[in-house]
Amino acid sequence: METVMSYFMLNPAFYIFAGLAVILAIFMITMPNPVYSAIFLVLTFFCISVIYITLEAEFIAAIQVLVYTGAIMVLFLFVIMLLNLGRDADLVEHSGPMKYISIIVAFAILIQIGLAAKVTVNIGEKGMFPIEKIREIGNTEAIAGLLFSDYLYPFEIASILLLLGMIGAIIISKKRSE
Protein backbone atom coordinates (compact mmCIF):
# COMPACT_ATOMS: atom_id res chain seq x y z
CA MET A 1 0.00 0.00 0.00
CA GLU A 2 2.73 2.39 0.90
CA THR A 3 4.54 1.85 -2.36
CA VAL A 4 1.34 2.54 -4.24
CA MET A 5 0.92 5.78 -2.34
CA SER A 6 4.46 6.78 -3.02
CA TYR A 7 4.00 6.14 -6.72
CA PHE A 8 0.86 8.22 -6.59
CA MET A 9 2.53 11.10 -4.79
CA LEU A 10 5.27 11.04 -7.37
CA ASN A 11 2.94 12.19 -10.08
CA PRO A 12 -0.69 12.43 -8.97
CA ALA A 13 -1.98 13.96 -12.21
CA PHE A 14 -0.64 11.04 -14.21
CA TYR A 15 -2.35 8.46 -12.05
CA ILE A 16 -5.63 10.31 -11.93
CA PHE A 17 -5.87 10.75 -15.65
CA ALA A 18 -4.46 7.34 -16.48
CA GLY A 19 -7.09 5.77 -14.24
CA LEU A 20 -9.76 7.94 -15.78
CA ALA A 21 -8.62 6.98 -19.26
CA VAL A 22 -8.90 3.29 -18.40
CA ILE A 23 -12.37 3.73 -16.91
CA LEU A 24 -13.54 5.74 -19.90
CA ALA A 25 -12.09 3.17 -22.26
CA ILE A 26 -14.06 0.46 -20.48
CA PHE A 27 -17.19 2.56 -20.84
CA MET A 28 -16.39 3.01 -24.48
CA ILE A 29 -16.34 -0.71 -25.22
CA THR A 30 -19.35 -1.56 -23.08
CA MET A 31 -21.75 1.05 -24.40
CA PRO A 32 -24.42 -0.47 -26.64
CA ASN A 33 -24.94 2.83 -28.44
CA PRO A 34 -22.11 3.63 -30.86
CA VAL A 35 -22.60 7.38 -30.43
CA TYR A 36 -21.93 7.08 -26.71
CA SER A 37 -18.96 4.88 -27.45
CA ALA A 38 -17.59 7.59 -29.68
CA ILE A 39 -18.10 10.19 -26.97
CA PHE A 40 -16.25 8.08 -24.43
CA LEU A 41 -13.46 7.52 -26.91
CA VAL A 42 -13.16 11.27 -27.32
CA LEU A 43 -12.96 11.68 -23.55
CA THR A 44 -10.33 8.94 -23.40
CA PHE A 45 -8.28 10.83 -25.96
CA PHE A 46 -8.55 13.96 -23.86
CA CYS A 47 -7.26 12.08 -20.82
CA ILE A 48 -4.36 10.73 -22.82
CA SER A 49 -3.49 14.20 -24.02
CA VAL A 50 -3.48 15.36 -20.41
CA ILE A 51 -1.02 12.56 -19.65
CA TYR A 52 1.19 13.89 -22.42
CA ILE A 53 1.02 17.29 -20.77
CA THR A 54 2.18 15.82 -17.47
CA LEU A 55 5.13 14.44 -19.40
CA GLU A 56 5.73 17.99 -20.69
CA ALA A 57 5.13 16.80 -24.23
CA GLU A 58 2.72 19.60 -24.90
CA PHE A 59 3.06 19.51 -28.65
CA ILE A 60 2.10 15.86 -28.81
CA ALA A 61 -0.82 16.59 -26.49
CA ALA A 62 -2.12 19.30 -28.78
CA ILE A 63 -1.61 17.16 -31.87
CA GLN A 64 -3.38 14.30 -30.14
CA VAL A 65 -6.44 16.47 -29.69
CA LEU A 66 -6.14 18.13 -33.08
CA VAL A 67 -5.79 14.93 -35.07
CA TYR A 68 -7.49 12.22 -33.07
CA THR A 69 -10.42 14.07 -31.60
CA GLY A 70 -10.70 16.93 -34.05
CA ALA A 71 -10.42 14.97 -37.25
CA ILE A 72 -10.59 11.21 -36.84
CA MET A 73 -13.33 11.09 -34.24
CA VAL A 74 -15.40 13.59 -36.20
CA LEU A 75 -15.23 11.24 -39.15
CA PHE A 76 -16.20 8.34 -36.87
CA LEU A 77 -19.25 10.23 -35.66
CA PHE A 78 -19.99 11.26 -39.20
CA VAL A 79 -20.06 7.66 -40.33
CA ILE A 80 -22.12 6.56 -37.34
CA MET A 81 -24.69 9.23 -38.05
CA LEU A 82 -24.61 8.55 -41.77
CA LEU A 83 -25.17 4.85 -41.27
CA ASN A 84 -27.82 5.67 -38.71
CA LEU A 85 -26.47 3.21 -36.18
CA GLY A 86 -27.30 5.25 -33.13
CA ARG A 87 -29.87 4.00 -30.65
CA ASP A 88 -30.85 1.05 -32.73
CA ALA A 89 -28.36 -1.21 -30.97
CA ASP A 90 -27.69 -3.04 -34.20
CA LEU A 91 -24.17 -3.60 -33.12
CA VAL A 92 -24.85 -6.06 -30.31
CA GLU A 93 -23.07 -9.24 -31.26
CA HIS A 94 -24.02 -12.67 -30.05
CA SER A 95 -20.94 -14.74 -30.52
CA GLY A 96 -21.01 -17.40 -27.77
CA PRO A 97 -17.66 -19.07 -27.14
CA MET A 98 -15.61 -16.35 -28.84
CA LYS A 99 -16.62 -14.01 -26.04
CA TYR A 100 -14.97 -16.12 -23.32
CA ILE A 101 -11.88 -16.80 -25.35
CA SER A 102 -11.39 -13.11 -25.99
CA ILE A 103 -11.82 -12.32 -22.32
CA ILE A 104 -9.10 -14.82 -21.46
CA VAL A 105 -6.78 -13.44 -24.13
CA ALA A 106 -7.43 -9.91 -22.96
CA PHE A 107 -6.49 -10.78 -19.40
CA ALA A 108 -3.38 -12.55 -20.59
CA ILE A 109 -2.30 -9.45 -22.49
CA LEU A 110 -3.09 -7.29 -19.46
CA ILE A 111 -0.88 -9.43 -17.23
CA GLN A 112 1.88 -9.39 -19.80
CA ILE A 113 1.81 -5.62 -20.06
CA GLY A 114 1.70 -5.32 -16.32
CA LEU A 115 4.78 -7.49 -15.92
CA ALA A 116 6.63 -5.62 -18.62
CA ALA A 117 5.72 -2.27 -17.10
CA LYS A 118 6.81 -3.43 -13.65
CA VAL A 119 10.22 -4.34 -14.93
CA THR A 120 10.71 -1.04 -16.75
CA VAL A 121 9.46 1.07 -13.91
CA ASN A 122 11.78 -0.61 -11.48
CA ILE A 123 14.82 -0.14 -13.65
CA GLY A 124 13.91 3.51 -14.28
CA GLU A 125 16.31 3.92 -17.14
CA LYS A 126 16.33 7.30 -18.80
CA GLY A 127 15.88 7.52 -22.54
CA MET A 128 17.48 9.86 -25.03
CA PHE A 129 15.15 12.72 -24.20
CA PRO A 130 14.63 13.12 -20.47
CA ILE A 131 12.54 16.01 -19.22
CA GLU A 132 15.58 18.14 -18.46
CA LYS A 133 16.73 17.96 -22.04
CA ILE A 134 13.24 18.62 -23.41
CA ARG A 135 12.98 21.70 -21.23
CA GLU A 136 16.23 22.89 -22.66
CA ILE A 137 15.48 22.48 -26.35
CA GLY A 138 11.69 22.54 -26.37
CA ASN A 139 9.58 19.53 -27.20
CA THR A 140 8.40 20.78 -30.61
CA GLU A 141 12.00 21.19 -31.71
CA ALA A 142 12.90 17.78 -30.38
CA ILE A 143 10.14 16.10 -32.34
CA ALA A 144 10.89 18.07 -35.48
CA GLY A 145 14.59 17.25 -35.22
CA LEU A 146 13.91 13.53 -34.90
CA LEU A 147 11.25 13.45 -37.61
CA PHE A 148 13.36 15.17 -40.21
CA SER A 149 16.64 13.45 -39.49
CA ASP A 150 16.56 9.94 -38.00
CA TYR A 151 13.02 9.10 -39.01
CA LEU A 152 12.85 10.90 -42.32
CA TYR A 153 12.17 7.79 -44.43
CA PRO A 154 9.40 6.37 -42.25
CA PHE A 155 7.88 9.84 -42.13
CA GLU A 156 7.87 10.21 -45.89
CA ILE A 157 6.61 6.66 -46.42
CA ALA A 158 3.75 7.36 -44.05
CA SER A 159 2.82 10.48 -45.96
CA ILE A 160 2.88 8.59 -49.26
CA LEU A 161 0.63 5.94 -47.74
CA LEU A 162 -1.79 8.62 -46.61
CA LEU A 163 -1.72 10.16 -50.06
CA LEU A 164 -2.51 6.78 -51.58
CA GLY A 165 -5.40 6.39 -49.18
CA MET A 166 -6.70 9.78 -50.16
CA ILE A 167 -6.50 9.02 -53.88
CA GLY A 168 -8.24 5.69 -53.30
CA ALA A 169 -11.05 7.39 -51.42
CA ILE A 170 -11.50 9.92 -54.22
CA ILE A 171 -11.61 7.15 -56.84
CA ILE A 172 -14.20 5.19 -54.88
CA SER A 173 -16.43 8.20 -54.39
CA LYS A 174 -16.05 9.21 -58.04
CA LYS A 175 -17.11 5.75 -59.17
CA ARG A 176 -20.23 6.02 -57.07
CA SER A 177 -21.31 9.34 -58.46
CA GLU A 178 -20.94 8.23 -62.06
Binding site: L83, N84, R176
Partner: protein, 404 residues
Protein backbone atom coordinates in the same frame (compact mmCIF):
# COMPACT_ATOMS: atom_id res chain seq x y z
CA UNK B 1 -53.32 1.58 -37.09
CA UNK B 2 -51.98 2.15 -40.57
CA UNK B 3 -55.39 1.51 -42.02
CA UNK B 4 -56.87 4.15 -39.77
CA UNK B 5 -54.20 6.59 -40.75
CA UNK B 6 -54.79 6.08 -44.43
CA UNK B 7 -58.48 6.46 -43.90
CA UNK B 8 -58.23 9.76 -42.06
CA UNK B 9 -55.62 11.00 -44.52
CA UNK B 10 -57.78 10.16 -47.49
CA UNK B 11 -60.51 12.23 -45.94
CA UNK B 12 -58.19 15.15 -45.98
CA UNK B 13 -57.30 14.80 -49.63
CA UNK B 14 -59.40 16.92 -51.88
CA UNK B 15 -58.85 14.75 -54.91
CA UNK B 16 -58.58 11.03 -54.79
CA UNK B 17 -56.40 10.65 -57.85
CA UNK B 18 -53.59 12.66 -56.31
CA UNK B 19 -51.29 10.40 -54.30
CA UNK B 20 -51.13 11.16 -50.62
CA UNK B 21 -48.07 12.93 -49.42
CA UNK B 22 -48.67 12.75 -45.70
CA UNK B 23 -47.28 9.29 -45.36
CA UNK B 24 -43.87 9.96 -43.99
CA UNK B 25 -41.99 6.81 -43.07
CA UNK B 26 -41.37 6.20 -39.38
CA UNK B 27 -38.59 8.25 -37.88
CA UNK B 28 -34.96 7.34 -38.04
CA UNK B 29 -35.36 5.21 -41.10
CA UNK B 30 -33.83 7.83 -43.29
CA UNK B 31 -30.46 8.75 -44.73
CA UNK B 32 -28.25 5.75 -45.15
CA UNK B 33 -29.52 2.46 -43.95
CA UNK B 34 -26.56 0.19 -43.71
CA UNK B 35 -24.07 -0.65 -46.38
CA UNK B 36 -25.33 -3.08 -48.98
CA UNK B 37 -22.69 -5.51 -50.11
CA UNK B 38 -21.89 -4.04 -53.51
CA UNK B 39 -21.63 -0.30 -53.13
CA UNK B 40 -22.69 2.68 -51.10
CA UNK B 41 -26.37 3.17 -51.43
CA UNK B 42 -28.10 6.40 -50.71
CA UNK B 43 -31.65 6.33 -49.53
CA UNK B 44 -33.93 9.24 -50.07
CA UNK B 45 -35.48 10.88 -47.10
CA UNK B 46 -38.41 13.20 -46.79
CA UNK B 47 -38.16 16.59 -45.26
CA UNK B 48 -40.95 18.99 -44.58
CA UNK B 49 -40.13 22.56 -45.39
CA UNK B 50 -42.91 24.55 -43.88
CA UNK B 51 -45.64 25.34 -43.11
CA UNK B 52 -43.60 26.99 -40.36
CA UNK B 53 -40.31 27.83 -41.96
CA UNK B 54 -38.53 31.15 -42.41
CA UNK B 55 -38.24 30.85 -46.17
CA UNK B 56 -41.62 29.71 -47.40
CA UNK B 57 -42.94 33.27 -47.37
CA UNK B 58 -46.05 32.34 -45.47
CA UNK B 59 -47.68 29.02 -44.88
CA UNK B 60 -46.52 26.96 -47.80
CA UNK B 61 -45.49 23.40 -47.15
CA UNK B 62 -42.98 21.73 -49.39
CA UNK B 63 -42.60 17.99 -49.13
CA UNK B 64 -39.07 17.53 -50.28
CA UNK B 65 -37.57 14.18 -50.99
CA UNK B 66 -33.83 14.45 -50.70
CA UNK B 67 -30.75 12.44 -51.39
CA UNK B 68 -28.21 14.02 -49.10
CA UNK B 69 -28.44 17.69 -49.93
CA UNK B 70 -29.86 17.14 -53.39
CA UNK B 71 -33.56 17.63 -54.02
CA UNK B 72 -34.98 14.60 -55.80
CA UNK B 73 -38.52 15.83 -55.89
CA UNK B 74 -40.39 18.65 -54.31
CA UNK B 75 -44.10 18.85 -53.95
CA UNK B 76 -45.81 22.04 -52.82
CA UNK B 77 -48.70 21.38 -50.49
CA UNK B 78 -51.11 24.27 -50.68
CA UNK B 79 -54.24 25.34 -48.93
CA UNK B 80 -53.07 26.54 -45.54
CA UNK B 81 -54.29 30.03 -46.36
CA UNK B 82 -57.35 29.09 -48.36
CA UNK B 83 -60.22 31.44 -47.54
CA UNK B 84 -62.68 30.70 -50.37
CA UNK B 85 -62.45 34.14 -51.86
CA UNK B 86 -64.15 33.12 -55.06
CA UNK B 87 -67.16 31.85 -53.16
CA UNK B 88 -67.19 34.87 -50.87
CA UNK B 89 -67.09 37.12 -53.91
CA UNK B 90 -70.18 35.42 -55.30
CA UNK B 91 -72.08 36.37 -52.16
CA UNK B 92 -71.22 40.06 -52.13
CA UNK B 93 -72.40 42.99 -54.19
CA UNK B 94 -70.05 44.12 -56.90
CA UNK B 95 -68.60 46.95 -54.86
CA UNK B 96 -68.14 44.80 -51.80
CA UNK B 97 -65.83 42.42 -53.65
CA UNK B 98 -63.00 44.93 -54.00
CA UNK B 99 -61.71 44.90 -50.39
CA UNK B 100 -61.41 41.11 -50.45
CA UNK B 101 -58.95 41.23 -53.28
CA UNK B 102 -56.56 43.14 -51.00
CA UNK B 103 -56.19 39.99 -48.98
CA UNK B 104 -55.28 37.90 -52.01
CA UNK B 105 -52.14 39.52 -53.31
CA UNK B 106 -51.38 41.55 -50.25
CA UNK B 107 -48.13 42.86 -51.68
CA UNK B 108 -49.81 44.10 -54.85
CA UNK B 109 -53.18 45.14 -53.48
CA UNK B 110 -53.61 48.04 -55.85
CA UNK B 111 -53.25 45.78 -58.85
CA UNK B 112 -55.59 43.25 -57.30
CA UNK B 113 -58.23 45.92 -56.67
CA UNK B 114 -57.86 47.20 -60.17
CA UNK B 115 -58.60 43.87 -61.83
CA UNK B 116 -61.95 43.52 -60.09
CA UNK B 117 -62.86 47.17 -60.61
CA UNK B 118 -62.02 46.90 -64.30
CA UNK B 119 -64.03 43.69 -64.65
CA UNK B 120 -67.13 45.20 -63.04
CA UNK B 121 -66.77 48.37 -65.08
CA UNK B 122 -66.58 46.38 -68.29
CA UNK B 123 -69.52 44.22 -67.27
CA UNK B 124 -71.72 47.20 -66.36
CA UNK B 125 -70.29 49.50 -69.07
CA UNK B 126 -69.19 52.18 -66.64
CA UNK B 127 -67.00 54.95 -68.05
CA UNK B 128 -64.20 55.91 -65.70
CA UNK B 129 -62.96 59.55 -65.65
CA UNK B 130 -59.53 60.07 -67.13
CA UNK B 131 -58.05 61.45 -63.93
CA UNK B 132 -59.10 58.29 -62.15
CA UNK B 133 -57.34 56.17 -64.76
CA UNK B 134 -54.17 58.21 -64.35
CA UNK B 135 -54.30 57.82 -60.60
CA UNK B 136 -54.84 54.10 -61.04
CA UNK B 137 -51.78 53.80 -63.23
CA UNK B 138 -49.70 55.77 -60.74
CA UNK B 139 -50.69 53.75 -57.71
CA UNK B 140 -50.53 50.44 -59.57
CA UNK B 141 -47.02 51.12 -60.81
CA UNK B 142 -45.96 52.37 -57.39
CA UNK B 143 -47.31 49.17 -55.97
CA UNK B 144 -45.34 47.22 -58.55
CA UNK B 145 -42.20 48.99 -57.38
CA UNK B 146 -43.08 48.29 -53.75
CA UNK B 147 -43.74 44.66 -54.52
CA UNK B 148 -40.50 44.20 -56.42
CA UNK B 149 -38.53 45.97 -53.69
CA UNK B 150 -40.04 43.74 -51.10
CA UNK B 151 -39.28 40.74 -53.29
CA UNK B 152 -35.70 41.87 -53.73
CA UNK B 153 -35.29 42.08 -49.98
CA UNK B 154 -36.88 38.72 -49.36
CA UNK B 155 -34.84 37.09 -52.10
CA UNK B 156 -31.64 38.55 -50.73
CA UNK B 157 -32.59 37.18 -47.32
CA UNK B 158 -33.25 33.77 -48.86
CA UNK B 159 -29.77 33.85 -50.33
CA UNK B 160 -28.42 34.89 -46.94
CA UNK B 161 -27.77 38.61 -47.42
CA UNK B 162 -29.86 40.05 -44.64
CA UNK B 163 -28.90 43.61 -45.34
CA UNK B 164 -30.64 43.57 -48.70
CA UNK B 165 -33.81 42.67 -46.86
CA UNK B 166 -33.82 45.82 -44.81
CA UNK B 167 -32.83 48.00 -47.76
CA UNK B 168 -35.75 46.68 -49.76
CA UNK B 169 -38.07 47.60 -46.93
CA UNK B 170 -36.60 51.06 -46.59
CA UNK B 171 -37.84 52.24 -49.97
CA UNK B 172 -41.03 50.22 -49.77
CA UNK B 173 -41.75 52.14 -46.61
CA UNK B 174 -41.77 55.40 -48.56
CA UNK B 175 -44.35 53.98 -50.95
CA UNK B 176 -46.45 52.75 -48.06
CA UNK B 177 -46.32 56.25 -46.60
CA UNK B 178 -47.67 57.59 -49.88
CA UNK B 179 -50.50 55.08 -49.89
CA UNK B 180 -51.26 55.92 -46.31
CA UNK B 181 -51.50 59.55 -47.37
CA UNK B 182 -54.12 58.83 -50.05
CA UNK B 183 -56.14 56.01 -48.54
CA UNK B 184 -55.20 55.81 -44.88
CA UNK B 185 -54.07 52.24 -45.09
CA UNK B 186 -50.66 50.70 -45.47
CA UNK B 187 -51.33 47.15 -46.61
CA UNK B 188 -54.92 46.55 -47.60
CA UNK B 189 -55.83 49.63 -49.53
CA UNK B 190 -59.21 49.11 -51.17
CA UNK B 191 -58.29 52.27 -52.99
CA UNK B 192 -59.18 51.47 -56.59
CA UNK B 193 -62.93 51.02 -56.61
CA UNK B 194 -65.62 50.42 -59.13
CA UNK B 195 -66.02 53.69 -61.00
CA UNK B 196 -62.73 55.31 -60.03
CA UNK B 197 -60.66 55.60 -56.89
CA UNK B 198 -61.67 56.13 -53.29
CA UNK B 199 -60.13 59.56 -52.72
CA UNK B 200 -58.47 62.16 -54.85
CA UNK B 201 -54.68 62.42 -54.64
CA UNK B 202 -53.40 65.22 -52.44
CA UNK B 203 -50.63 67.68 -53.31
CA UNK B 204 -48.62 66.11 -50.50
CA UNK B 205 -48.88 62.74 -52.21
CA UNK B 206 -47.62 64.20 -55.49
CA UNK B 207 -44.76 65.81 -53.60
CA UNK B 208 -43.93 62.49 -51.98
CA UNK B 209 -43.95 60.67 -55.31
CA UNK B 210 -41.69 63.31 -56.80
CA UNK B 211 -39.24 62.98 -53.93
CA UNK B 212 -39.32 59.23 -54.23
CA UNK B 213 -38.66 59.25 -57.97
CA UNK B 214 -35.71 61.53 -57.36
CA UNK B 215 -33.93 59.21 -54.95
CA UNK B 216 -34.96 55.90 -56.51
CA UNK B 217 -32.26 55.65 -59.25
CA UNK B 218 -29.50 56.17 -56.68
CA UNK B 219 -30.97 53.58 -54.40
CA UNK B 220 -31.32 51.05 -57.20
CA UNK B 221 -27.66 51.63 -58.06
CA UNK B 222 -26.92 50.91 -54.42
CA UNK B 223 -28.74 47.60 -54.66
CA UNK B 224 -26.85 46.68 -57.77
CA UNK B 225 -23.61 47.45 -55.94
CA UNK B 226 -24.66 45.49 -52.89
CA UNK B 227 -26.30 42.48 -54.50
CA UNK B 228 -26.13 42.19 -58.28
CA UNK B 229 -22.37 42.43 -58.56
CA UNK B 230 -21.58 40.25 -55.59
CA UNK B 231 -19.65 37.15 -56.59
CA UNK B 232 -21.38 34.96 -54.05
CA UNK B 233 -24.76 36.18 -55.19
CA UNK B 234 -23.95 35.43 -58.83
CA UNK B 235 -22.64 32.00 -57.86
CA UNK B 236 -25.80 31.31 -55.94
CA UNK B 237 -28.21 32.43 -58.66
CA UNK B 238 -26.68 32.17 -62.14
CA UNK B 239 -27.91 29.03 -63.86
CA UNK B 240 -29.85 27.99 -60.77
CA UNK B 241 -33.36 26.70 -61.42
CA UNK B 242 -33.15 27.54 -65.10
CA UNK B 243 -36.22 26.77 -67.14
CA UNK B 244 -36.55 26.99 -70.88
CA UNK B 245 -39.03 29.19 -72.67
CA UNK B 246 -40.95 26.13 -73.87
CA UNK B 247 -41.30 24.84 -70.33
CA UNK B 248 -42.38 28.24 -69.11
CA UNK B 249 -45.04 28.54 -71.79
CA UNK B 250 -46.33 25.02 -71.31
CA UNK B 251 -46.62 25.64 -67.57
CA UNK B 252 -48.44 28.91 -68.27
CA UNK B 253 -45.81 30.96 -66.50
CA UNK B 254 -46.31 34.70 -66.75
CA UNK B 255 -44.79 37.89 -65.49
CA UNK B 256 -41.11 38.39 -64.68
CA UNK B 257 -40.53 34.64 -64.66
CA UNK B 258 -41.58 34.38 -68.30
CA UNK B 259 -39.66 37.48 -69.26
CA UNK B 260 -36.55 35.99 -67.68
CA UNK B 261 -36.87 33.14 -70.18
CA UNK B 262 -36.51 35.44 -73.12
CA UNK B 263 -40.06 36.37 -74.10
CA UNK B 264 -40.86 40.05 -73.45
CA UNK B 265 -44.53 39.28 -72.92
CA UNK B 266 -46.25 41.96 -70.91
CA UNK B 267 -49.97 42.65 -71.10
CA UNK B 268 -49.33 46.35 -70.73
CA UNK B 269 -47.67 46.20 -74.15
CA UNK B 270 -49.39 43.22 -75.76
CA UNK B 271 -52.97 44.18 -74.94
CA UNK B 272 -52.65 47.73 -73.65
CA UNK B 273 -55.42 48.26 -71.16
CA UNK B 274 -56.26 51.52 -69.44
CA UNK B 275 -53.76 54.20 -70.49
CA UNK B 276 -50.70 52.08 -71.02
CA UNK B 277 -50.62 52.70 -74.76
CA UNK B 278 -49.94 56.37 -73.98
CA UNK B 279 -46.76 55.80 -72.05
CA UNK B 280 -43.29 55.14 -73.24
CA UNK B 281 -41.65 52.23 -71.44
CA UNK B 282 -39.70 49.08 -72.19
CA UNK B 283 -40.31 45.48 -71.31
CA UNK B 284 -37.06 44.12 -69.87
CA UNK B 285 -36.28 40.52 -70.79
CA UNK B 286 -33.35 38.19 -70.30
CA UNK B 287 -32.70 34.84 -71.80
CA UNK B 288 -31.47 32.27 -69.31
CA UNK B 289 -34.58 31.75 -67.25
CA UNK B 290 -32.52 31.31 -64.08
CA UNK B 291 -32.78 33.02 -60.70
CA UNK B 292 -30.25 35.64 -61.70
CA UNK B 293 -32.24 36.70 -64.73
CA UNK B 294 -35.45 36.81 -62.74
CA UNK B 295 -33.67 39.11 -60.37
CA UNK B 296 -32.43 41.34 -63.17
CA UNK B 297 -35.83 41.47 -64.84
CA UNK B 298 -37.46 42.66 -61.66
CA UNK B 299 -34.73 45.18 -60.94
CA UNK B 300 -35.13 46.62 -64.44
CA UNK B 301 -38.89 46.65 -64.06
CA UNK B 302 -38.55 48.87 -61.02
CA UNK B 303 -36.91 51.49 -63.19
CA UNK B 304 -39.44 51.04 -66.01
CA UNK B 305 -42.34 51.38 -63.56
CA UNK B 306 -40.73 54.53 -62.22
CA UNK B 307 -40.66 55.84 -65.79
CA UNK B 308 -44.40 55.21 -66.16
CA UNK B 309 -45.15 56.90 -62.83
CA UNK B 310 -43.13 59.92 -63.93
CA UNK B 311 -45.06 60.22 -67.21
CA UNK B 312 -48.43 59.64 -65.57
CA UNK B 313 -47.69 62.22 -62.90
CA UNK B 314 -46.69 64.79 -65.50
CA UNK B 315 -49.80 64.11 -67.57
CA UNK B 316 -52.22 63.99 -64.65
CA UNK B 317 -55.34 65.86 -65.88
CA UNK B 318 -57.82 67.81 -63.78
CA UNK B 319 -61.30 66.43 -63.32
CA UNK B 320 -63.25 63.93 -61.32
CA UNK B 321 -61.52 61.08 -59.59
CA UNK B 322 -64.59 58.86 -59.67
CA UNK B 323 -67.90 58.46 -61.41
CA UNK B 324 -70.23 61.01 -59.84
CA UNK B 325 -73.42 59.08 -59.77
CA UNK B 326 -73.03 55.38 -59.29
CA UNK B 327 -75.86 53.15 -58.14
CA UNK B 328 -75.43 51.76 -54.66
CA UNK B 329 -76.03 48.27 -56.01
CA UNK B 330 -74.82 47.82 -59.53
CA UNK B 331 -76.92 45.45 -61.61
CA UNK B 332 -74.94 44.64 -64.72
CA UNK B 333 -76.72 43.03 -67.66
CA UNK B 334 -76.53 39.27 -68.01
CA UNK B 335 -73.23 38.20 -69.47
CA UNK B 336 -69.67 37.39 -68.54
CA UNK B 337 -66.34 39.11 -68.75
CA UNK B 338 -62.69 38.16 -68.40
CA UNK B 339 -60.23 40.89 -67.60
CA UNK B 340 -56.52 40.24 -67.51
CA UNK B 341 -53.90 42.63 -66.31
CA UNK B 342 -50.21 42.62 -65.64
CA UNK B 343 -49.83 42.40 -61.86
CA UNK B 344 -46.34 42.51 -60.29
CA UNK B 345 -46.21 38.71 -60.28
CA UNK B 346 -47.66 38.08 -63.71
CA UNK B 347 -50.97 37.80 -65.41
CA UNK B 348 -53.85 38.52 -63.05
CA UNK B 349 -57.20 37.52 -64.49
CA UNK B 350 -60.72 38.07 -63.19
CA UNK B 351 -63.63 36.19 -64.65
CA UNK B 352 -67.08 37.40 -63.70
CA UNK B 353 -70.45 36.14 -64.75
CA UNK B 354 -73.51 38.25 -64.13
CA UNK B 355 -77.07 36.96 -63.90
CA UNK B 356 -78.52 40.44 -63.75
CA UNK B 357 -78.76 40.56 -59.96
CA UNK B 358 -76.72 42.64 -57.55
CA UNK B 359 -74.33 39.78 -56.96
CA UNK B 360 -72.16 37.98 -59.50
CA UNK B 361 -73.19 34.46 -60.36
CA UNK B 362 -69.64 33.16 -60.69
CA UNK B 363 -66.28 34.66 -59.95
CA UNK B 364 -62.92 33.15 -60.76
CA UNK B 365 -59.52 34.64 -60.12
CA UNK B 366 -56.53 33.60 -62.13
CA UNK B 367 -53.73 34.50 -59.79
CA UNK B 368 -50.14 34.56 -61.05
CA UNK B 369 -48.47 33.18 -57.91
CA UNK B 370 -50.46 29.97 -58.08
CA UNK B 371 -49.63 29.21 -61.69
CA UNK B 372 -46.01 30.27 -61.32
CA UNK B 373 -45.58 28.04 -58.31
CA UNK B 374 -46.55 25.04 -60.41
CA UNK B 375 -43.15 25.04 -62.08
CA UNK B 376 -41.28 24.74 -58.78
CA UNK B 377 -41.12 20.90 -58.79
CA UNK B 378 -39.65 20.99 -62.27
CA UNK B 379 -37.26 23.87 -61.63
CA UNK B 380 -36.02 22.58 -58.30
CA UNK B 381 -35.39 18.96 -59.28
CA UNK B 382 -31.75 18.02 -59.00
CA UNK B 383 -30.66 21.19 -57.24
CA UNK B 384 -29.46 21.46 -53.71
CA UNK B 385 -31.66 22.38 -50.80
CA UNK B 386 -30.15 25.87 -50.67
CA UNK B 387 -31.00 26.27 -54.35
CA UNK B 388 -34.55 25.14 -53.71
CA UNK B 389 -34.94 28.06 -51.34
CA UNK B 390 -33.43 30.41 -53.90
CA UNK B 391 -35.71 29.09 -56.65
CA UNK B 392 -38.77 29.34 -54.44
CA UNK B 393 -37.76 32.88 -53.59
CA UNK B 394 -37.26 33.78 -57.23
CA UNK B 395 -40.75 32.58 -58.14
CA UNK B 396 -42.05 35.39 -55.95
CA UNK B 397 -45.10 33.80 -54.42
CA UNK B 398 -47.57 35.46 -52.13
CA UNK B 399 -49.38 32.76 -50.26
CA UNK B 400 -52.58 34.76 -50.09
CA UNK B 401 -52.45 34.87 -53.85
CA UNK B 402 -51.70 31.16 -54.17
CA UNK B 403 -54.34 29.84 -51.82
CA UNK B 404 -56.92 32.60 -52.20
Amino acid sequence: MSEQLTHSASKKAFRKDIPLIDQIPPRKKHILRGLPESELHVEEFLMNIGPQHPSTHGVLRLVVSMEGEVVKSCEPDLGYLHRTFEKISENRTYQQIVPFTDRMDYLGSMNANWGVAAAVEKLASIEVPERAEYIRVIVAELNRIASHLMWMGAFAADIGALTGFVYGFREREMILDMFEEICGSRLTYGYIRVGGVAEDVTPKFIQMVNDFLKILPDRVTDYHDLITGNVIFIERTRGIGAITLDEAISYDITGPMLRACGLPWDLRKEEPYSLYSKFDFNIPAYFNGDCYDRFRVRMDEIMEAAKIVRQALDGLPEGDYKVKKLARNIKPPVGDVYIRQEAPRGEYGVYMESDGSIKPNRVKYRTPSFTNLSILPLAARGWKIADLIAILGSVDIVLGDVDR
